[in-house]
């Protein structure tokens, strides 16, 4: 199999499709990042919450907390954290492709959530695009929440103590003290995850989202060329991911200024 200039010339006749595919990939990634990040924040806070509705079971009659035994364990049970943990573990332990098809074929099926056949943002089919975004966000949210959780835990415990000793609530402490520092610590890992989302969004091609991969298919079918369209699309993915990681690295460097220790 060889690469030829003529092959590229033929491939570029599909430039419009590649352009739309690229835009589609950008939209997919953009909405996934936003939704996924919000989900991740919620999951991380759920996992770190200290909601213990059965705590009263662990109380001794004189109002102190039992240290050991079955009742102490029951008292510590945190259903909110448990649900989030189960979610994260299940998502991480099952293939993305399966998750995508569950969302597309089950959640967004005719008898559950029936999406109208309309186009949005110019050329995107809503009933393909939205399930794609939702599936990607549900997946990356689980991974991002692990990153955020690690970031939150990496902030020095003295920060929480100082904040709480000033009378700020747990929520305020999270919002004003912990998260700003956590985000700074985990920016590289978040950047990685964003790049991963851009690349993984290619999988939505399997449910008919017209992203870059579908442009490849069209070009391949029309030109009988295999390699050139693939090289073009690889270059286009690179053009999306490489600047993204550079931009994130730039912000990371900027935030490191005025850092303690």
């Amino acid at each position: 199999m060889s690469v030829s200039a003529a092959g590229f010339a033929k491939t570029f006749q599909y430039a419009d499709m590649f352009k739309e595919g690229m835009l589609c990939t950008v939209y997919l990634s953009f909405f996934t990042v936003i939704l996924g990040f919000l989900l991740a924040l919620v999951l991380a806070v759920m996992r770190l919450s200290n909601f213990q509705p059965l705590r009263f079971l662990a109380m001794t009659p004189d109002g102190h907390l039992r240290e050991e035994g079955f009742l102490a364990a029951v008292g510590r049970f945190n259903p909110i954290s448990f649900i989030a943990t189960v979610y994260v573990e299940v998502v991480r332990a099952t293939p993305m492709l399966v998750q995508l098809f569950i969302v597309y074929q089950v959640v967004f099926s005719k008898n559950v959530i029936d999406l109208p056949s309309v186009t949005v943002l110019g050329f995107l089919k809503l009933n393909r695009f939205l399930p794609g975004v939702v599936a990607l966000a549900l997946n990356s949210g689980a991974y991002l929440s692990e990153i955020i959780r690690a970031g939150i835990q990496s902030v020095d415990g003295g920060q929480t103590e100082a904040s709480r000793s000033l009378g700020l609530t747990q929520g305020q402490t999270m919002l004003y003290i912990i998260l700003p520092q956590a985000i700074k610590n985990i920016l590289p890992a978040i950047g990685n995850e964003f790049v991963t989302i851009i690349k993984e969004s290619a999988i939505t091609y399997t449910i008919g989202v017209q992203d870059l991969m579908s442009a490849v298919k069209a070009a391949q079918a029309g030109t009988f060329l295999v390699l050139e369209p693939l090289l073009v699309v690889a270059a286009m993915y690179f053009c999306l991911t490489f600047p993204t990681s550079k931009v994130i690295a730039y912000f990371e460097r900027r935030m490191r200024r005025g850092d303690q220790r």
Partner: protein, 258 residues
């Protein structure tokens, strides 16, 4: 200086770790009165930090009670003004207790001014300009009026600790808790922090101070507690403790540190 008003009444305070294997606090009973400058001394691991941190419930005690402003803050539910049982609002009580830490714990992502105004604005809903005015005034009093816009990393250890003290003062606490405020400082900066604390004491602030600075304990403290193995072994005036120590553990301790 000291009036006879009890501010904090600690009774049989216990804090166990590892299911009782470690008794960080093993039945501490003590009263802090308004205007007291109570200095806590003792060997490493004797439970001094745990005691201090229990006072504002950074640690939940395993047993005993802490009555602060007439309320037992170790209880989940307390009676309100009408005698009805309501959930204890621990944040309300913490606002009345300032705390200063060994490692300063300034917020590194905020300027000095932001460090100081955050809690008054968010908790007391003080207008921003008023909070900033107050912060600048306090900063001026500790000789840092020109550093309001700096970030914590740009300050020396002594400067950071002075900021930490005035940050706590912004909330107008009824008592200030200090956990080894000078232990992380280079020797030449210890004095500037102790001076601020001394001034605070002279203004009548109630203070509980864990420190290894025996000079400070003698000069500024009006009561000294000696702790060992989670127990309060001896308490008295600085003269009692330093000139006439009774307990052998205290005598041994003093022979090492003095």
């Amino acid at each position: 200086m000291a009036t006879k008003d009890n501010l904090i009444q600690v009774t049989d305070l216990k804090k166990y770790y590892n299911r009782g294997a470690i008794k960080a606090l093993d039945g501490i009973t003590v009263n802090v009165q308004k205007g007291d400058v109570m200095v806590v001394i003792g060997p490493s691991g004797s439970g001094k930090s745990t005691f201090l941190r229990s006072l504002n419930l950074m640690e939940m005690p395993t047993g005993g009670s802490i009555i602060f402003d007439g309320v037992d803050i170790t209880k989940k539910k307390v009676p309100n003004e009408k005698g009805k049982m309501v959930k204890l609002d621990i944040d309300k009580h913490r606002q009345k207790m300032g705390m200063v830490f060994q490692h300063f714990n300034l917020f590194p992502h905020m300027t000095i001014l932001e460090n100081m105004t955050l809690a008054p604005i968010k908790v007391h809903h003080m207008p921003k300009d008023q909070a900033e005015k107050k912060a600048l005034e306090l900063l001026g009093r500790v000789g840092l009026g020109d550093r309001a816009g700096a970030y914590p990393i740009q300050l020396s250890g002594g400067q950071k600790q002075r900021v930490a003290i005035v940050r706590a003062l912004m909330m107008e606490p009824e008592v200030m808790l200090f956990d080894e405020p000078t232990s992380a400082l280079d020797p030449e900066m210890v004095g500037e922090v102790l001076d601020v604390m001394k001034e605070l004491a002279q203004e009548g602030m109630t203070m509980v101070v864990v420190t290894h600075e025996m000079g400070f304990a003698r000069e500024v403290g009006n009561r000294v507690l000696f702790m060992a193995d989670g127990k309060l072994l001896e308490q008295g005036t600085p003269d009692d403790i330093f000139l006439h120590p009774q307990h052998p553990r205290l005598q041994e301790f003093l022979s090492k540190v003095l």
